[in-house]
């Protein structure tokens, strides 16, 4: 393993890979800083353009964009009270009050350092933890894998969404879209409408671009296209100083670990991690009353946890092939177009791709920090780009991205249809991430279920009996039921609390 790690480091430090990591980190930071452009959207837009790169180069670039975008999302929140990404909301709660108090520079500097530490800590866990998980995962058979997918879908559908039932419905919709095309066992065409372009199913990349880009364009285009009232206040000195950073060391490490742990859990993304990190920092703080009024620990905790998710979320994606959130689903699309099938065998089959990728995350974290400290005054201006300009540009990128994947105009149509469906679902408060995860995981689940059906028949058992005959499968089944039951219980309690507080569903949404 250490030979592979060393080789990975050597490949990652090649000049062209350093350049790609730097470019990706800067581009990610800029995209993340634009209000309305999330890390998921950024990666969804860029994945199709990595098609002609080598798999190592593509992954290094996309990984760097991921790191940069997660960090960049906080800049707009701190400066103009508009979060660039959902995960930046927790940072904004204390970052913007600091800006109002004339301490915007301190908030931004703390934000950069905390993001850097969060990213590095989680990458260490990814580097040493993922191979161990992968070696254990090699023992997993079809029955277990099927239930891992079902468990992941149930937690993703239930944990990440406001309403568990809508989350689960979105996940099932994705699983259904995943059935489009030829059934691998029988060759039967399902829901292909005599369109050869659909014989191989709905391409993940095209679905990703449509669901996240076009729906976001329509959301952006709903509002005022140009707000002339926005301005960036004076931010002062950005470097927080060694003494400040030393005083925040505990907060940074704790939140980085929280972020890494949350990232591993399917469905719990950077936004949840940031809020948990912030709330934990508030619990242990000597001055909890300052939270929400410009507490520097609030910014530090939210950002370290936020970026800690990056490495954590890549562990289940690279070792089990299960993307824990929408961003890793988008990254998984990047792996798939380069012929890399994420799952237990990936670490065995492609260590020459994975280790350079993991090492490049260390560099990407360093690069966005250097670029942010060096160029914050220019990066900050990005937050003022009007949504009326962003929306048409994203449409153009989505169209060229969808087309370039297979050079088919039909794919532009799929992108648009899925984009409009995505927009309607967002308006009806359905989450989109479970859909894309369903599209990716659906064929895997069906393939493994088909194998189980064959095996059960060979053992003269019912499928359910076959599942019950395996301990790990039973554990996963129980966990799935527990996850769904818990999410409904939590939703019931939340509704009760809201009712008691006189808050209606619309206000809650």
């Amino acid at each position: 393993m250490f030979d592979q790690i060393l080789n990975g480091a050597i490949v990652a430090f090649q000049f062209q890979h350093l350049l790609l990591a730097f470019g990706g980190a800067v581009l990610g930071t800029i995209l993340g800083a634009m209000p309305g452009i999330s890390a998921t959207l950024g990666i969804a837009l860029l994945v199709p353009f990595t098609f002609d790169m080598s798999s190592v180069a593509a992954l290094i670039f996309l990984g760097a964009v991921y790191c940069g975008a997660i960090y960049g999302g906080s800049i707009a929140g701190i400066l103009i009270n508009v979060p660039g990404t959902p995960a930046a909301v927790a940072t904004m709660l204390d970052g913007y009050p600091m800006t109002q108090q004339g301490k915007g520079g301190l908030a931004l500097g703390t934000d950069i350092c905390s993001s850097f530490v969060g990213g590095q800590v989680s990458t260490i866990f990814l580097l040493f933890g993922a191979p161990i998980v992968a070696s254990v995962a090699l023992e997993i058979r079809s029955a277990e894998f099927f239930w891992i997918v079902i468990f992941a879908m149930s937690t993703i559908g239930a944990i990440g969404a406001g309403s568990p039932i809508k989350g689960l419905m979105a996940g099932i919709l994705g699983l259904v879209i995943g059935t489009v095309g030829m059934h691998p066992m029988t060759g039967t065409l399902r829901y292909a409408f005599d369109q050869p372009a659909l014989y191989e199913g709905v391409p993940v990349i095209v679905a990703l671009v449509g669901l996240f880009s076009i729906s976001q364009v329509l959301i952006l285009a709903e509002g005022q296209g140009m707000d002339t009232q926005l301005h960036i206040p004076r931010i002062g000195r950005i470097w927080p100083g060694w003494a400040t950073l030393w005083s925040l060391k505990g907060c940074m490490i704790r939140s980085s670990l929280i972020g890494t742990a949350v990232g591993v859990v399917p469905g719990a993304g950077a936004d949840i991690a940031a809020f948990i990190g912030r709330s934990e920092a508030r619990r242990v703080s000597k001055t909890p009353e300052l939270f929400g009024k410009g507490a520097i620990e609030g910014v530090c905790a939210a950002e370290a946890a936020n970026n800690g998710v990056v490495g954590g979320s890549l562990i289940p994606m690279l070792t089990l092939g299960i993307p824990g959130n929408a961003v890793t689903a988008a990254l998984l699309g990047g792996l798939l177009i380069h012929g890399l099938i994420p799952g237990p065998h990936l670490f065995r089959d492609a260590p020459d791709v994975l280790y350079p990728f993991i090492f490049s995350l260390f560099m990407a974290n360093a690069f966005f920090a250097v670029a942010a400290f060096g160029g914050m005054r220019w990066v900050a201006k990005v937050v003022l780009v009007p949504q009326g300009i962003i929306a048409p540009m994203v449409t153009a990128l989505a169209v060229i991205g969808a087309y370039s994947f297979r050079n088919m105009v039909f794919d532009i149509g799929i992108t648009l249809v899925l984009g409009f469906i995505g927009y309607a679902l967002r308006k009806a408060r359905f989450p989109l991430a479970p859909i894309i995860l369903g599209i990716i995981l659906g064929p895997l689940a069906e393939e493994n279920l088909d194998r189980v059906i064959t095996l059960a028949a060979a053992h003269d058992m019912s499928v359910f009996g076959f599942f019950l005959s395996r301990t790990l499968t039973v554990v996963l089944m129980v966990l799935t039921v527990a996850a769904i039951a818990y999410s409904f219980y939590r939703d019931h309690k939340r509704r009760q609390l809201l009712k008691e507080a006189g808050v209606f569903l619309d206000e809650e949404d």
Binding site: P48, D52, A221, M226
Partner: protein, 150 residues
Amino acid sequence: MTRWPKGAEARDAISAIVFLVISIVGFVAALDFPKRAANWPLWMWGLLGGFSLILLAGSLRRSPSGKTEKKDQATFGRSFVNVALIVAYAVSVPILGFFTATGTYAIVHMTYLGVRPFPLVLAVAAGGLIFLYFFFGFILGVPVPHGLLY
């Protein structure tokens, strides 16, 4: 007698009905597949239909918030125009060619979204096209659809 809900409950009820109808259509279509190919979609459509019924029942049972989504109603017309512009753009790409269609679409959509002054719109559209041409067409070598004009 159950009254038709309002506000968020109406939104949930309508979504549930749409999902239910789609589930029934999908389920019926899956009945024509061979048994092995039909198993998974039948389960999925069945589950989707079941959850739709639960969502529908929940939205009918909940006390209505009494809120009408004024913002949604106001943005409906605007969204309709946005959708129409994007569809027109997508249709024009294979006819006019990617660059011509993109330039035209960007100018029209930015103007509709209220970006001012107009020279800024033209400058952004031109800058965007130059970026797309050189970065994607030239550096990355990404193929773009060509049409009558370019």
